[in-house]
């Protein structure tokens, strides 16, 4: 007998979909996947959205979300095929032998019950421990996972602890029944980057200390490289490549894997500031109506023509609010904005058409940024008609030029947004912004909803268009890799203030202020041992202080 905990052979997974106005039909999500997982090892499942990675993870618990069904192959856990056993056996497996950590702990905890009850529930249910022992074990796990006040945190309700803490509680929930295997489904994806690193370290340590095997599912190769022994790369329901972490990261064989490894390594030469900035933000302070604190405090930044200023910060830093102030959707309580040599009026409705035209915006969610009832031609054509009065063949010609610029063919004019892929949608939004011939475009997290490879394509396109159209970008993002790829200057925001501002090379070179240091060092790097290095460094620093 080998010590394999999980043995998957020819796993096929399908689902029934209900397209509007058509008959329901079955589609295949996973087309035959094989892998083994040894006791105490961690296998990383990586792929873009639609790769089937979460579906495979849940299949190891004989669970299909929604209309998902396991249609073929075998999944052996501890030597028995769970696709062939009855519901009783499956129940004793779930929560006992195999447990699950979801992406959103906030939704996965029952809001009406205390954390401790929920953490110990499975262990007691499966007769692994009595209530008292289970609670003792939970407290031990809370301590191990670095939760504050481990003795009493279990008495709280889920909404009474922070997101990062709740994600650790979810890990404790999964480890409490002493399972043989834990499925981690994007456990750090919803967290801010500085929180992610701590949770990641806590999870890694907990896996090592308890000797449990794990399936670690994520779209972020740099993250999975820190916790896994092996990695399996998936794409559209097929396995692309399987190997040790070292082999996948340092010598990938398949082209797709190579692309994933080299993602976000765009080289961008920083441009020097010219004399006159196109956008001057001076002393901007703002608050939302009905609140009593400033979400922006005395912001001063400049953006030069044809260049990119990246605004970096985590959620709640005020970076998107700054965009609302610049566009005039939220008039500031103090300060002024100069655009193209003219002072912008604080509220959007009073701005002249010329100001509106020259300042365009691209949104994070291309889905909601386009009217689903308008064709691509109408969406791109409207600014041409509205600002320049273009009509008929002249307008058609210009639409075609713009479609060519965003690398979409002529067939796209008559399509509706629902018929486009995520990347294509974002390209159409870029074309709509460019149609106004703007001096400046605000890009609000434009790549964060996209898969890494698609996001890379969008960034390259934006850089290329900047050269052609000589347009300036105010690029709002939480992702430092994107910042490196695209910016000429950077403003780091934290709690409504700009804590560091300057050219890219200045901002990204030491000496750092505390927050920028924390932020920069928290971004996962695509190399083995990165997590240990960072943690060791931080320990040294705190010892030095």
């Amino acid at each position: 007998m080998t010590d394999e905990i999980l043995k998957v052979r020819g796993l096929k997974i399908g689902a029934t979909i209900y397209p509007p106005g058509e008959k329901a039909r079955d589609i295949a999500i996973v087309h035959g996947v094989d892998f083994d997982l040894e006791r105490g090892k961690v296998l990383g499942l990586i792929g873009e959205s639609g790769a089937g990675k979460s579906t495979i993870g849940l299949a190891s618990m004989a669970y299909g979300r929604g209309g998902v069904e396991l249609t073929g192959g075998s999944v052996e856990v501890n030597g028995r095929d769970i696709l062939k056993t009855g519901i009783r056996d499956i129940r004793s497996l779930r929560g006992g032998e195999v447990t699950y950590v979801s992406q959103s702990a906030a939704a996965s905890f029952n809001p009406a019950r205390k954390i401790m009850e929920q953490v110990t529930e499975a262990a007691i249910l499966h007769g692994k421990f009595g209530r008292k022992e289970a609670e003792e074990r939970a407290v031990t796990l809370f301590r191990k996972l670095g939760l504050p006040d481990p003795e009493n945190i279990g008495e709280r309700f889920p909404h009474q602890v922070s997101g990062g803490q709740l994600q650790r509680c979810m890990t404790a929930l999964a480890l409490c029944p002493e399972p043989d295997l834990v499925v981690f489904d994007e456990p750090t994806t919803a967290l801010d980057v500085t929180t992610q690193i701590d949770v990641l370290a806590a999870i890694k340590e907990a896996i090592r200390d308890t000797g449990v095997a794990a399936l670690y599912i994520t779209h972020d190769l740099a993250v999975v490289a820190q916790v896994s022994d092996h990695i399996m790369v998936l794409r559209m329901g097929d396995m692309v490549e399987y190997g040790t972490v070292d082999q996948i990261i340092n010598s990938p064989k398949e082209d797709y894997t190579k692309a994933l490894v080299s993602v976000r390594s765009i080289e961008h030469e920083e441009k020097k500031p010219t004399s006159e900035p196109v956008l001057k933000v001076e002393g901007i302070t703002a608050r939302y109506r009905g609140t009593n604190f400033d979400v922006l405090k005395n912001i001063n930044v400049d953006l030069h023509p044809g260049q990119t200023l990246a605004i970096v910060g985590e959620s709640g830093s005020g970076k998107s609010t700054l965009a609302r102030v610049i566009t005039g959707l939220l008039p500031p309580s103090a300060g002024q904005i100069t655009f193209n040599g003219r002072t912008l009026t604080p509220d959007q409705p009073s701005r002249p058409l010329e100001d509106l035209r020259e300042l365009q915006m691209i949104y994070q969610m291309a889905d909601t940024a386009m009217n689903p009832r308008q064709t691509v031609g109408t969406i791109i054509g409207r600014p041409l008609e509205f600002y320049f009065g273009l009509k008929g063949s002249e307008k058609q010609k210009r639409i075609q030029e713009l479609l060519d610029e965003i690398e979409l063919g002529s067939g796209f004019q008559d399509r509706y947004p629902a018929e486009l892929s995520g990347g294509q949608k974002q390209r159409v939004c870029i074309a709509r912004a460019l149609a106004a011939k703007p001096k400046m475009i605000i890009c609000d997290e434009v790549t964060s909803a996209l898969d890494p490879l698609v996001a890379d394509g969008i960034l390259k396109l934006l850089l290329n268009l900047q050269k052609i159209e000589d347009v300036a970008y105010l690029f709002i993002t939480h992702d430092l890799a994107t910042v490196r790829a695209i910016s000429d200057s950077i403003a780091v925001m934290y709690q409504g203030e700009v804590v560091r501002y300057g050219s890219k090379s200045e901002v990204l070179s030491p000496p750092f202020d505390d927050y920028t240091d924390l932020l920069l060092s928290s971004v996962p790097e695509m190399r083995l041992g990165w997590l240990e290095d960072v943690l060791a460094n931080r320990k040294m620093e705190s010892a030095g202080n």
């Binding site: 929560g95 979801s102 009406a112």
Partner: protein, 319 residues
């Protein structure tokens, strides 16, 4: 004061304010017509003396605002006024009939509420299978029928053809024993039950489905818990507020159904009293009854809001 108490106080004062505004609306509603109200009521053939009497009775010669406050003052001190047609105190008539109506409505609710919740759970348990489909087909049918249609069909079949129960409630005596009373209103109870059952079932089903689709139910499933235990420990604590909401909403709906059903079965309740006096254009009675029905309606909605505030874990256990 905790956030919960604050919200409760806020919600209750809002309910009281609403009630006050409703009294304005009802008062204004009975004065919407320009011109002579007395003429409207008595018609063209009325004698001048009768008109003058009625004007004095209605107090038309006084300014409307003064009349409103006089009326409101009466309401607040429990004096509903005097009926124009009979010259009798409205309090007395309403007092008798209100308990009758309450008896009918409560009897229907006692059957309808548990049944609706049970069937709603059944529909969720067998979702998209035949019990669910049967339930939604029945729902569609009963929702599409006015109360009086259901009333007459049942009266004809159960009361006249089969002679199981008395076809009308003419023989209802409030002082008879419980069984006799229930027998004489068996068909009206059945009608009201059918009327609210459909809505309540449909809404209960939706409320429970909403809870069952939450991620924390999936967590419980992935802990290997049996379905019944999941429903008891994870779904129910979160489903109480939405279900209470559904029940209250439908009881409010029942209040309206009662009006029509009482007329169909000639049951001596508030609804029949109201309709009767609308036909006779007896404004003080209409105002008083309208106010009582509206108050019950608002009260039930208020209870639903209070329950959902009380069961909200975020408010019960503030940070």
């Amino acid at each position: 004061m905790g956030p919960m108490t604050k919200l409760l106080v806020q919600r209750i004062s809002l309910g009281l304010l609403l009630l006050l505004l409703v009294s304005v609306v009802i008062f204004v509603g009975t004065m919407v017509l320009p011109g002579d109200v007395a003429q409207q009521i008595l018609g063209q053939s009325a004698t001048p003396e009768a008109l003058a009497n009625l004007r004095a009775e209605l107090g038309v010669d006084q300014p409307p605002v003064a009349r409103y406050f006089e009326w409101l003052g009466g309401l607040l001190t429990g004096d509903l006024g005097t009926a124009l047609t009979s010259g009798q105190s409205i309090n007395e008539a309403v007092g008798r009939r209100f308990s009758n109506t309450l008896f009918l409505a409560v009897s229907a609710a006692v059957i309808a509420v548990p049944l609706a919740i049970f069937l709603g759970l059944l529909a969720v348990r067998y979702r998209e299978r035949w019990p669910d489909k049967l339930i939604s087909a029945t729902t569609l049918t009963t929702i599409s029928m006015p109360e009086f249609v259901i009333g007459y069909i049942l009266m004809f079949v159960l009361g006249v053809q089969l002679r199981w129960f008395s076809p009308t409630s003419v023989g209802y005596r409030p002082d008879a024993d419980l069984f006799t009373r229930l027998e004489s209103i068996a068909i009206p109870i059945l009608v009201l039950t059918l009327v609210v059952l459909a809505h309540m079932m449909r809404m209960t089903r939706a409320a429970i489905l909403n809870v069952m689709q939450s991620a924390y139910i999936e967590t419980a499933e992935l802990k290997g818990m049996p379905m019944l235990k999941i429903i008891r420990k994870h779904a129910l604590p979160n489903a109480i507020a939405p279900i209470v909401n559904v029940v209250m909403l439908n009881l409010a709906y029942l209040v309206v159904g009662v009006v029509v059903v009482e007329v169909v079965f000639v049951y001596p309740g508030m609804g029949q009293y109201l309709v009767d006096h609308v036909t006779k254009r007896d404004i003080p009675v209409v105002q008083a009854c309208g106010m009582i029905f509206a108050a019950i309606y608002i009260g039930l909605n208020l209870v639903a809001d209070i329950v959902s505030i009380l069961t909200n874990p975020r408010l019960r256990h503030p940070k």
